[in-house]
Symmetry: C2
C-alpha cells in the first residue's frame, strides 16, 4: 500500500468524507485493485493522525455502497468492480451555472402574448390561496384526481355553458397545465386512428410543434376572411383539424355560423375530429361573444380547449380540455394510472376565485381594460400609418395584424430596425407554414403596453415601416 | 310568419336572450327557412309587448354570429346555413354532474403512496408562498422559462450534488409536474432511435403505461436481490432501461456499486440509455444514502429523475428531470416552443422554501418521523406474523413487502377480507408484468398511518393472512 491519503482539517468537507472520496477514487481508477486489503482502522488512524471514528466512518460508507467488502476479523477489502472494463472518467469540473442574462427589457413590447403587467389580481389571489390552503391541508399528502379537482371541473362546466354555450358534464373536463399538455392528451387519443392533422395557415406555431412531436403529418390549410378554407380542408385528406373559429390566431377572423355547420358536417362524415381552441373568447370588444362550435354539436366529434392564460395569467399554467363523449372511454383506458398535472393548491385557489365571484368580475374588468387599449391602438394606427395600411382582426383579443402596403422595407428589415429602437415584435412569418408571408404583416400586441407606450411605440413603428 | 315567440319575465334569462334562443333554434331546425325576412323591430316589439331594445339585442347578436344577414332599409333575413344537410341534434339534456361519492375512508390505509397526513408544513409553505407572490407579481403576466424557473433549477443542482452526488448544470434540469410528464419528455426524445424499453418486474406500473402510450415495446426484466437482472437486460434486446437502483420499487432492493458500474457499461456500449428514477432517496433509515448512478458517470447516457412527492407533497405536482448533455440539443430542438408546465408561483414558493433552509430541515424531520413508523412496523410485524413471513425492502421509503409462507389464502382472498375490515391494500400483483405473483406478497405502506393504526392494522392484517 503506497497510496497517500491527505486529510485537510481546514477544508469544510468532513474528514471522514475526504478519506471516503480519496479511497473511492482509487477504487474506481483501479489504483486500489480488487481484493486488496485496506489498512486496519487503528493503523490508518495513527498514520493520518486522526481519530478512529474518521477511518471507521469512511470504511463503513464505502462498505454500505459496495466499494468494500469485509471478512470477519480480517478487515476491509476492495470489491471487484470490473473497473478495468470501465475506466470511469473523472466527474466534469463543477459547472457553476450562471444565471442567464435577464431577457431584454423592451421599451415597447408588442408581443401578442403579453398581458397588462398590473392586471394580475394579487390581493384576491392571495386571499383565495389562503382559503384554499386552510381547507386543503389534509389533502396535500395524497395524489388527487387525475382529471383534476371535481369542484373546479363542475364550476367550469357551468361557466362554459353560460359564457360559451359549451354543453358537457364535469366527467368530460380535464384540467391541464396549458395548451401543449391538452394537445398531448388529444394526440395520444387520436394517434391510433389518425395520421394527419390540418392546421390553419397562418396559425399558431405551438400546435404544429406538438403534433409533429407525436408523429402526425401536419398539413397547413389556408385561412380566408371567413376562417379556415373548408374546400381546402376537404381536399387535404386530413381526418383531424385544429381550428380557432371564434378568433383565428393570428388573423382574428371569426368563422360564421354557416361555415361552422359545414365544418361540423365534415367532422360527422366518417369519424373525423375537430379540435376547437377557444383561447381568448372572453376578450371580445364588438358585439357579443361567438358561441362555440362545441355548443352547436355537443355530441359531435369536437374537442374543446380553453385557458386562463389570456385573462388571468399565463404563468399559472391553468387550462382545460373538454373531451367528446366518444373519446371518454379511450381517455380512461389510456390514462387510468396517470396523476393530475396541476397543483391541487392552485386548482383549489381557482375554485375559490370562481366561487367567490372574482373570476367573472375579473373578466369584465379585463374586457374594459383591453378594449380601451384596443380602441386607442386603432386610433393611433390611423393617425400615424398612411391610408394604405390595412388593420386585420380588430375587435377582440390582445393583438391586431397590420398589413402594409407595397413598397415597405419587408419584415426582416422592419424587425431589425425595431430591435435597434427597443421595440419587440413577434415575426408574423413564424405563424406561416412556409416561414414566409406573401405580403408584409406585423403582429401588433397591445396587452402589455400602457397608453403612453402605445402612442409612442406605434408612432415609432410607423416611421420604421416607411 | 306563423312562429310564436314567448317571453317570460319571471325567467332569470334576459328577455333578449330568450328571444335569441328561440329564433336561433328555428333557424337551426329549418322552421325559419333561409332568406326569410324577420319582422321589423317595431312590429315584433309591439306583438310581444316588449321594448325595442329587447328585439334589437336579439337580432344584433344573431347577426353578429351569422344566423341573420341584413339589407339596407329592408331589415333582417335568415342566412343560408345548409340546415337541411345538417339537421342538428338538440343539445343533450343538461347533465348536472353530481360530485362522485367521496373515496372510501379506510380505517387502516396501507397504500404505499400515502404520506403522514399531518406532515405538510402548511405554515411555512404559506409564508413562502406570500414571499413568492410579493416578489413575482410582475412576472405573472408573462409565460416563464420553458424548462422551469432558473433559480429553482440552480438550487436543485446544488441540492442534488450534495445529497445524491448528481453532477449537472441548471441547463440540464427540467421542472415537471410529476413523473409521467418527465417520462413523456424522455419518451419523445428517445422514440426516434429506440423501440423497446426494459422495465423492472416487479416494478412501478406508471412508467409502463407512459411508454406504452408512446408506442414503445415494454419488456419486463426480472429483479433480483441485487437489483435488475443485468444478464436478462442484456438478453432483452432493449436499448433503453427504466430503473430504480437506490430503492427498487416495490421490492426495496439496493443495486450495489459493482452492478451499477456494469449497468453503466451496458449503456456506454452502443448508445443505450438509462433512465434512473431516484424517487424517494431522501428516506433511508439504515446507513447513508446510496449515491446516484448519474454521479458515477455524469457524462454518460443517464437521465436522472426525482420528485418532491415523497417527502413534501404528491398533490403539489413538483418533480424534476436531469437530462444528459447528449440529449440537450434534441430537447431544445423539439421543445423550443413549449411553455413551462408548472405554475411559476409554485416554483417560486419552492425556491423560497429551499433558500430559507426549510427543505433540508423538512427532509430531516420526515426521515425521523418515518423511521419511527418504519421501526414500529417491523416490531409489530415480528410480533404478529409468524416466523415464516419474510420482510423485504426494509430500511427505506414508505413501505415494506411481506412475503407470506405457503398455505396462505392468496392475494385476492386477503384483499377481499381486508376490504371488509376497512383495510386498504394496494395489490402487489399490480406491480408484476404478468399481473400475478408466484408467491403471495403484500405491499405494506406505513406513511399515512399513526402508531395506533400500525399496531392495530398489522394485528388485524396478520389474522386475515392465516
Amino acid at each position: 500500500m503506497t497510496l497517500m491519503f491527505i486529510l485537510n482539517s481546514n477544508d469544510s468537507t468532513p474528514l471522514y468524507k475526504q478519506l471516503y472520496n480519496q479511497i473511492r477514487a482509487h477504487v474506481l481508477s483501479g489504483k486500489l485493485p480488487a481484493n486488496s486489503r485496506l489498512p486496519s482502522v487503528r493503523d490508518l488512524a495513527a498514520e493520518l493522525s486522526t481519530s478512529r471514528n474518521t477511518i471507521e466512518g469512511a470504511y463503513q460508507e464505502l462498505y454500505a455502497e459496495g466499494y468494500l467488502y469485509s471478512k470477519q476479523r480480517s478487515g476491509y477489502f476492495v470489491s471487484a468492480l470490473q473497473q478495468d472494463a470501465s475506466p470511469l472518467a473523472p466527474p466534469p469540473p463543477r459547472q457553476r451555472g450562471r444565471q442567464p442574462a435577464p431577457a431584454t427589457r423592451y421599451v415597447y413590447d408588442f408581443h401578442p402574448a403579453r398581458l397588462d403587467p398590473q392586471s394580475f389580481p394579487a390581493p384576491l389571489w392571495r386571499k383565495c390561496f389562503l382559503d384554499a390552503l386552510r381547507a386543503s391541508t389534509g389533502d396535500l399528502t395524497q395524489y388527487g384526481e387525475g382529471q383534476g379537482d371535481w369542484r373546479l371541473r363542475s364550476l367550469l362546466q357551468d361557466y362554459l355553458e353560460r359564457s360559451r354555450g359549451v354543453s358537457c358534464a364535469p366527467e368530460q373536463i380535464v384540467i391541464c397545465p396549458g395548451l401543449q399538455q391538452s394537445l398531448d392528451i388529444v394526440a395520444h387519443l387520436l394517434q391510433a386512428q389518425h395520421m394527419a392533422v390540418a392546421v390553419e395557415d397562418p396559425g399558431y406555431h405551438l400546435p404544429r410543434a406538438v403534433f409533429h412531436n407525436h408523429g402526425f403529418n401536419v398539413v397547413p390549410v389556408p385561412v380566408k376572411p371567413d376562417g379556415l378554407d373548408l374546400a381546402a380542408l376537404r381536399a387535404s385528406g386530413c381526418s383531424v383539424v385544429y381550428v380557432t373559429p371564434s378568433h383565428q390566431l393570428p388573423l382574428g377572423y371569426v368563422m360564421p355560423v354557416a361555415n361552422r355547420l359545414q365544418l361540423i358536417d365534415w367532422a360527422d362524415s366518417g369519424g373525423k375530429q375537430i379540435i376547437e381552441d377557444d383561447y381568448d373568447s372572453e376578450l371580445r370588444y364588438l358585439g357579443k361573444p361567438i358561441p362555440s362550435l362545441q355548443g352547436l354539436r355537443p355530441l359531435g366529434n369536437i374537442v374543446y380547449l380553453g385557458t386562463f392564460s389570456k385573462v388571468l395569467s399565463p404563468a399559472l399554467r391553468l387550462s382545460y380540455l373538454v373531451l367528446p363523449q366518444a373519446l371518454l372511454s379511450a381517455y380512461r383506458d389510456r390514462f387510468r394510472d396517470y396523476f393530475p398535472t396541476v397543483s391541487l393548491l392552485e386548482q383549489r385557489t381557482m375554485v375559490q376565485f370562481m366561487e367567490q365571484g372574482h373570476w367573472e368580475r375579473h373578466v369584465r374588468r379585463m374586457r374594459i381594460l383591453y378594449k380601451k387599449k384596443h380602441d386607442l391602438l386603432l386610433q393611433v394606427i390611423a393617425r400615424h400609418f398612411g391610408p394604405g395600411v390595412k388593420v386585420v382582426g380588430q375587435g377582440a383579443g390582445l393583438h391586431v395584424v397590420l398589413q402594409l402596403p407595397d413598397g415597405n422595407p419587408g419584415e426582416a428589415e422592419i424587425l431589425r430596425r425595431a430591435s435597434l429602437e427597443g421595440i419587440h415584435l413577434f415575426p408574423f412569418s413564424a405563424t406561416c407554414a412556409s416561414g414566409e408571408s406573401a405580403v408584409t404583416r406585423l403582429l401588433v400586441g397591445f396587452g402589455g403596453m400602457n397608453a403612453v407606450e402605445i402612442e409612442q411605440g406605434v408612432e415609432l413603428l410607423s416611421r420604421l415601416c416607411d
